[in-house]
């Protein structure tokens, strides 16, 4: 690990005074960053520890939540309002990593997790445009079973590993940022970037900018929601495909539906096309499958991960079917 300086901030204002944008990284629980530093994939000259910023979960009058960036994943998953009004978020958090890691990992850090693409991790032996722009992507012709089927490019087919972010995308969460130029609020669905020609640019964060909170607002679909993660073993593994979905059915018709996929793209993939095709329709399995087909028509899998298209299709229909209950 490359030597670095360490400083701890007690709040966001102090963090912004300590940060030296070009050479510094913020650290939360460190569950991903410490590993990346140990592998020499990241080598910041300095760390500003933001894991002890105030970690509050504030309830707003309408049932909304403002979740401090330093809140631990396990704390958020067990929060009574999240369990009651945003069950897909609680379940997505509980599907991620292990209990020990959820106790360490912060909400802000979870958003900034980096891909687990094995070529990205193999600094000694593999080419990776994300790790070292311009060197090529060994995943394209390599082992790509875990890789993206949506929104990828000829430069990168890595996926985003977060479960939490998938639920937050379906919930239309807002990311609160603070930096030298003041504060700004970004919809979570616009926070992560698709790879295009610059897979090293993963989010809209500016240098030195800090995630301070994430906010979510209630709705009927959020309150009636689920998260299902399909993976090679039943616990403690990254998703081959996951689905966060919420469903609001009134008088036998879908009034509102929210769907997002994980494990299929470089960002949590909000399935707007599928949602659009379902609004006003009956909540039947045929309609769910047709909606999945509408979303997945744009899929461009590799030979090794073509199975993910059908897996995503069936997982989406299954989750919506569970939510629809006997209607589907």
């Amino acid at each position: 690990m490359t030597p670095f300086q360490y400083q701890r901030a007690s709040d966001a204002a102090e963090a912004l005074t300590l940060v030296d944008a070009g050479r510094c990284r913020f650290i939360g629980g460190g569950t991903n960053l410490v590993d990346l530093m140990r592998q020499n994939i990241e080598a910041p000259a300095a760390l500003v520890d933001v894991s002890r910023m105030p970690a509050s979960i504030e309830e707003e009058g309408n049932g909304g939540l403002v979740i401090g960036a330093a809140v631990r994943n396990s704390t958020l998953a067990a929060h009574p309002v999240v369990r009651a009004r945003y069950p897909m978020l609680s379940r997505a958090l509980l599907a991620g990593a292990s209990a020990q890691i959820r106790n360490m990992a912060t909400v802000g850090g979870n958003l900034l997790q980096r891909t687990r693409c094995s070529y990205f991790y193999d600094a000694a032996g593999s080419n990776c445009n994300k790790r070292q722009p311009g060197t090529g992507c060994d995943a394209l012709e390599g082992f790509s079973r875990n890789h993206a089927i949506l929104g990828a490019s000829e430069h990168c087919i890595a996926t985003h590993p977060s479960d939490m972010s998938v639920a937050l995308a379906a919930l239309d969460a807002t990311v609160h940022l603070s930096g030298a130029d003041g504060t700004r609020h970004i919809p979570l669905v616009d926070f992560h970037q698709l790879p295009g020609a610059t897979p090293d640019v993963e989010t809209v964060l500016r240098p030195g900018e800090l995630i301070t909170a994430i906010s979510i607002a209630p709705n009927a679909a959020a309150a009636h929601s689920r998260y299902r993660k399909v993976r090679d073993r039943s616990s403690y593994a990254f998703a081959l495909c996951s689905v966060a979905a919420g469903l609001d059915v009134v008088d036998g018709r879908i009034r509102d539906v929210r769907i997002a996929f994980g494990g299929v793209a470089a960002k949590p993939w909000r399935a707007y096309r599928a949602e659009e095709s379902l609004r006003g329709m009956a909540p039947t399995r045929d309609n769910f499958l047709r909606a999945a087909d509408a979303e997945l028509a744009a899929a461009k899998p590799t030979e090794a991960n073509a199975f993910k298209v059908e897996l995503a299709r069936r997982t989406m229909a299954a989750v919506l079917g569970e939510l629809a209950g006997a209607d589907a």
């Binding site: 410490v34 369990r83 509980l94 292990s98 209990a99 020990q100 360490m104």
Partner: protein, 168 residues
């Protein structure tokens, strides 16, 4: 500027690269906590910080400043075993024993999570809390601790007896 480890204060390392695991083993001489994968995949290095189970290999020691750390040495010793240690022996919850300190630290904090009513991924009713299907709950909640000898069945049984008996 100190970390309380099993009730004794230890100074922070000068080099922030030192992990809590390395501090425990090499500076505090507490070699009960094991180095497994050193990348957060196996759980052998699990310790309890302020009541929460965490991975000491991915914790920078400087990040534990002011915290209270409990390791396997703080739970029992050769003359007075922790009841869960005895249960691991009784139920063959180990073969080589390398993962055992991490398993036991993890399980002790996990039983507190269960008593608090925290849900897991297999919990059917999030609002109601953990299922009565206790083996499924234990298996899911202990998935961050791998045992390459394959003693998982004994481990789950040992933990189950502690939950049923109400002791921890």
């Amino acid at each position: 500027m100190a970390i309380a480890i099993n009730g004794t204060d230890y100074p922070l390392p000068d080099d922030p690269r030192v992990s809590l695991l390395d501090l425990l083993r090499e500076q505090a001489g507490l070699t009960g906590t094991k180095l497994g994968c050193n990348q957060g995949a196996c759980g052998a290095c699990t310790v309890i910080i302020d009541g929460q189970r965490v991975l000491s290999c991915l914790t920078l020691a400087v990040q534990a400043d002011g915290r209270s750390v409990t390791t396997i040495e703080g739970l029992g010793n050769e003359s007075t075993l922790h009841p869960l240690q005895q249960a691991f022996i009784t139920h063959d919850g180990l073969q080589c024993g390398y993962c055992t300190p991490g398993q036991i630290c993890s399980a002790i904090a996990m039983m507190d999570e269960l008593r608090r009513g925290d849900p897991s991924y297999v919990t059917s009713d999030l609002a109601a809390g953990p299922d009565a299907r206790m083996r499924e709950e234990i298996r899911e909640r202990m998935s961050g601790n791998l045992c390459r000898c394959g003693a998982h069945n004994g481990i789950v049984e040992a933990i189950e007896t502690q939950l049923v008996g109400g002791a921890a």
